[in-house]
Symmetry: C2
């Protein structure tokens, strides 16, 4: 597989499964391409809330806006250029704020294959 540049302009956002709010994901590299990781962009409307038990290791890089992620042992808030690492098995609540958020994400393994 060759090197690839991935930009938000290339992203086709779909509503993130398991919720009917304003949380969208766009995989650009995943199980269809033969590599071990999924890479994509995430988009959050203002004041959204998403609860999930992580079925994969998920690395979320905030590009715009701000997100608060809560779990049993910690609550963190990340802004542009900051990363939230959500290890497999953690039960998390992700909340966006007034300005929503845009993220890049990398998961291992492929999150779409790992969802129950």
């Amino acid at each position: 597989m060759a090197i690839r540049k991935l930009a938000v302009a290339d992203a086709r956002f779909e509503r993130s499964p398991g919720q009917d709010g304003e949380v969208f994901t766009a995989n650009l590299v995943d199980q269809r391409h033969g590599g071990p990781v999924t890479i994509g962009f995430g988009r959050y409307g203002p004041d959204q809330r998403l609860e999930e038990t992580m079925a994969v290791d998920d690395v979320m890089i905030v590009l715009e806006g701000m997100l608060t992620v809560s779990a049993a042992a910690a609550t963190v808030t990340a802004g542009p250029g900051e990363i939230v690492y959500m290890p497999k098995g953690e039960r998390v609540t992700i909340r966006s704020h007034g300005q929503g958020a845009m993220t890049a994400y990398v998961t291992y393994p492929h999150w779409q294959e790992a969802r129950p």
Copy 2:
């Protein structure tokens, strides 16, 4: 392992191995922490050049500045919020420009363990 927020302010940059230029890396999560992926920040001085055969799958998110990555089949230039995916086995040349660059990176598996 609990969720973690990672910020550049937490990063302790070290010169990237195999070169004596102005290219620095700072792992914040890696083989020492028990998860499958390495997560960190990269810092490039102006007009640097790094050649490497990827020993791991490496996802590089440009946070500041701009980087050009060349390989056999493609040359791409990425700016803030854009991603360059460098699959394992690819021979790449990474070049920074006049304003240098800051990146976030995620590798699978741990790049420090995979280096020849």
